[in-house]
Each structure stands twice: as structure tokens, then as C-alpha cells.
Amino acid sequence: MDQNLEKILVRGNEAVAMGAIDAGCRLFFGYPITPQNEIPEYLSKHLPPLGGEFIQAESEIASINLLLGASATGARAMSSSSSPGISLMQEGISYMAGSELPAVIVNISRSGPGLGGISASQGDYFQATRGGGHGDYRMIVLAPSTVQEMYDLTCLAFDLSDKYRNPAMILGDALIGQMKEPLIRRKPQQMDLPPKDWKLTGAKGRKPNKIKSLYLQEGELTEHNWKLYQKYEKMKEEEVRFETVNTEDARFVIAAFGSMARVSKTAMELAREEGMKVGLFRPITLFPYPEKALYDISTRVKQFLTVELNTGQMVEDVRLSVGRDAQVFFYGKPPGALPPPEEILEEIKKYY
């Protein structure tokens, strides 16, 4: 494999686009929205020379359905948007989960509700991890916290979505999408993936393939929902990813994801300098959530502080995961200003 191990300085959004290309994605469908425009802009330039297709669709609704169609042929395809646009895609994502179609959807989230604003927010955590659209389904959700991870996790999202025949989401935010950091464009080794014998290629020499989410026969839909459930359970067993820093000797742990994990890490370092044994727990997969890992930490650590750029969403998963004797505190910021590490340090001191 040709590897370029040179560091390049790119925006998070560009790293996502590069990851998609390196993962073999040749089709992109999207609609302009701030703060993710560098993704479609990059791909509109780089996909056609690779023989790929780029469509600027008339809406996010069209984008997600173009994605659904392309995915049904077995091709790797992607769409990206930001919060209000992701809301419009929920119908299509539900259909893809129901039809068991893989695809990668990128949410460089902004702030809401409604038109909200274009500043960073983590207000879409519930929407991403609880299904978002109608019906009882889940989506694989990966939360990068660096530009390098924007690239690496995009590549991984394609593999995971193919492995499970399920949509996968990259949940970034305006901060990670817009900032520039060094990136090493190292193509990851592709997972061993099952053949796509379900894909639509024309019924030549075989029975027709049908891809659908409508099940009307007695018992069919019940069975289908249990089948989906089994997939989500398997994801929980095999795909959980997280990062821990200084949790071994910690007596207080900050739980944060994405951009807030960066600020929290600095806060943790400041606390350590003052002699407080503080650690950091950073979920990388928001679904499947690293419940067991967090529970294990809570057998030793009894105080947790969840830090989020919202008024409290992931904190519910932290509370569900830790042991009953652990205390979970919350420090949140609605969209607007990002809290400086010193502010988080003050919170730690309140409880430590």
C-alpha cells in the first residue's frame, strides 16, 4: 500500500473528505450548510477525477435518498451535513436501518434548536445515539476529538457500516470541523468484511434481490426487529471504543467526548498539577456506548464529572453505566462560549 507518512496541515472537515476517499468512497450527495461545507467542496473537486460522482442535491432529504439508492448497489457512499440538515435526513436513516443498508453520514453539528447558530454544540447527542428517526433502531456513532481522528474514524465508519449493514455516523462539531491540525494520511487496513451478496446488480443468474423495510406478514416484523436488535447487541460486544487517561490511580474522573474531551484533558492536567488525582474517560463510540468500561472504572472511582457542550445529554449514559454508589456530577454549556479549562477545574474542586 502506498503510504504517505508526511504530516499535512488540514481542517477537520477536509480530513473527513480524505478519509472517505481513502476508504474507497466514490459517491457523495449533499446540500450546503455551515459549518461542514469544506467536505462537499473538497469532494466535488476530488471525486470526479477518480471516476466518482458528486451531486449537490436540492435538499438533505434528497441527499439521504440518493445515498440510500447508491448504497443498495453495494457501493461505498457518503453524505454530510450539520444539525438542521441531519434532522431532515432522519427519515432516510430510519429506512436505511430498516432496510439494512450501510452508509456513512457525517454530522458536523452546530447549535440548535431550530436555526440555532453556527457555533459548536453537542446538542445532537440524543438524536445521534437514540435512533433519531422513527422506529426501534440504532446507528453506529463515532465521535472524533482531533483532526487525525476525523480521518481515522471516517475510514473506520465505512468498515463498521459494511460489517453490520447499518448506517454509521461521524458526530463532530463546528470546532473539530473547522480547526486545522497535522494529519498523517495513513490508510488503515480494511477489515475482513462479509461479501455483499444482498446488493442490487441486476438479477443475472440468480433470484432477484429485494431491499425493503416493509414487513406485513404475521410475525415478520417482530422477527426483523429482533434481528436488528441482535446486531446492536453484537456491536456492544465487539465495537466499543474509548480512551482513558490517568484513570488507573484516579479518584475523580471526567467523562467527555469530542471537542469537550480536549478542554477536559487540559483541565485534568491542571488538576494533576495541583495534586488532585483526576482522570479522563473519553467515549469514541457513542453507540455502542462503553458502558462496561465505565462501570469497571466506577468500581474504583466514586466521583464522575460529565462535561458537555449542552445542558445534559451524555450524562444520562454515564449515570446508567456507573455503579450505584458512584456520584455523577454534570457541567454543561449550552451553545455560545466554550468553557476554558480553568472553569472545569473550578467544578472539579467543588466536588473533589
Binding site: 459517491l27 450527495f29 460522482e53 451531486i55 442535491a57 436540492e58 435538499s59 432529504i61 434528497a62 435518498n65 440518493l66 445515498l67 440510500l68 439508492g69 447508491a70 448504497s71 443498495a72 448497489t73 457501493a75 457512499a77 427519515e91 432516510g92 429506512y95 432496510s99 442490487l200 446488480t201 441486476g202 438479477a203 443475472k204 443468474g205 432477484p208 434481490n209 429485494k210 431491499i211 425493503k212 423495510s213 416493509l214
Partner: protein, 250 residues
């Protein structure tokens, strides 16, 4: 004895679920005959829309993908962009294309997507039980226009074929009916032409088929056929509205 009439290879040997007198089965057959004619069954993908047309995969002996309500033409475009060597078509009803999916339909035509869209216009929501459609005629009573469609409340019936014909991206636009043998023969030609356009990569092809819905119209099959002639065709005139002779990029 010579076999002069048989089931198209493209159709599975099962009875349609459509109500007696419904024209949907005829539309399916016309599409199947066109696919057989061009010998493209093994490389054709059908996109099932939401409505009475959704069970396409139970009848066509081809690969089929089910689309969300209204999104069939966007889904079909996605399939085609990923595999330009395949033939892609969809059959969308008047609710699917004329109401909830009109945006996707217009932009699919406008992009000149090389797919075939068969528009099943029976002026009513069949599957949900007879509600008003965007193509319901003025004065027509439905379960949600119990006093008859009134333009001051509900606006006017939409002429989709005329709208599609205004778009530069569409290569072939026709409106046909299947309520009598003469119209049926013209419909067969138009559907075949639409697939030919796609095979020859001429761009977006569109055939609106005026259809009956005897069940929800509250008419017998024969009365429904007459209604197509006497009430629908005067408002939705038949004919070829647009036919591109050469692909624009040639």
C-alpha cells in the same frame, strides 16, 4: 399450436393484489413488456414507491429497492449514479410524486438523470383509502374532500407531465391512458419509448399513465374506464409532450 400471448418473462407468475378494474396491473405489464423487448431484465433495477405500487417486488422478476414515501426518484438516481450500466425505473403514484415527492421528482428530471419514471395518476390516494390527491379533479369527492375539491381551499389539480416537459433535463415526456384498446396501444409505445431513451442514454424519461381506481372512486370497472375518458382526459390531455432526438451532450 402457436402461443400468441403470454406472460412477460419479467413478471412472476402470481396474481396481482390490485382491486378489480384497477389499471395498476396493466401498467406493470406494459413496463414488463418493455423490459422484455429490450432484453434488459438481468440488468434492470426497479424502485418501489409507497402506495399501491409498493409491492412491485412481488410481481417483477428483477432486483427491487423500496424507497421512502415520495423519494423514489431520488433513490433511483442514487442507484443509477452508482451503476450507470444498469437500467433503473420507478412507478410513482400521484401522492408520491405530485405531493410529498414533487421536489425530488422535479430535480431528478432537471438533472437529466438517465432513469425512467412511470407516473401512475388515478387522482386519489388508493392505499390509504381514498383521500384527496394533488391530481384530484375539481368537484371530485374523496374522503378528505367530502364536499368536492374546491380550488379556494385545495388549489387545482397538478399537471405533472406539462411541468416535467418544461424542464431542460427531461428527454421524453408523455401522457397516456389505458382505459380502452386504442389508448392502451399508444401507452405501450410510450412506455417502450421511455425505456429506449434510457437504453440510448438520452436522459430522463417520463410517462404519465391516467389510471382508474374503481374502489375509491365508488364506480364499477366499466364506469371507471368511462370516467377516465370523460373527466380525466379533458383535464389531462394525452400525447407526447416532449421527445429529444439527440442527447444534449452529443
Amino acid at each position: 399450436m402457436e402461443l400468441v400471448f403470454k406472460r412477460p418473462e419479467c413478471l412472476i407468475d402470481v396474481p396481482f393484489h390490485f382491486c378489480p378494474g384497477c389499471h395498476h396491473g396493466i401498467a406493470h405489464r406494459l413496463v414488463a413488456e418493455a423490459i422484455d423487448y429490450f432484453k434488459i431484465r438481468e440488468k434492470t433495477i426497479g424502485v418501489a414507491s409507497v402506495g399501491c405500487s409498493v409491492f412491485m417486488y412481488d410481481y417483477f422478476n428483477i432486483d427491487v429497492l423500496e424507497a421512502p414515501h415520495g423519494r423514489a426518484s431520488a433513490v433511483a438516481s442514487g442507484v443509477k449514479r452508482a451503476r450507470k450500466d444498469l437500467i433503473v425505473f420507478t412507478i410513482q403514484g400521484d401522492g408520491d410524486l405530485g405531493a410529498i415527492g414533487i421536489g425530488e421528482g422535479i430535480h431528478t428530471a432537471n438533472r437529466g438523470e438517465n432513469i425512467t419514471l412511470i407516473f401512475a395518476n388515478n387522482g386519489i390516494y388508493g392505499m390509504t383509502g381514498g383521500q384527496m390527491a394533488p391530481t384530484t379533479l375539481l368537484g371530485q369527492k374523496t374522503t378528505t374532500s367530502p364536499y368536492g375539491r374546491d380550488f379556494t381551499y385545495d388549489g387545482y389539480p397538478i399537471r405533472m407531465a406539462e411541468m416535467m416537459a418544461t424542464l431542460e433535463g427531461s428527454a421524453f415526456v408523455a401522457r397516456v391512458a389505458v382505459n380502452n384498446p386504442a389508448n392502451l396501444m399508444k401507452a405501450k409505445k410510450a412506455v417502450r419509448k421511455a425505456f429506449q431513451m434510457q437504453v440510448e442514454e438520452m436522459g430522463f424519461s417520463f410517462v404519465e399513465i391516467l389510471m382508474s381506481c374503481p374502489t375509491n372512486w365508488g364506480l364499477s370497472s366499466l364506469e371507471a374506464n368511462r370516467r377516465v375518458e370523460e373527466e380525466m382526459i379533458p383535464y389531462f390531455p394525452l400525447g407526447i409532450l416532449k421527445e429529444r432526438k439527440m442527447a444534449d451532450y452529443l
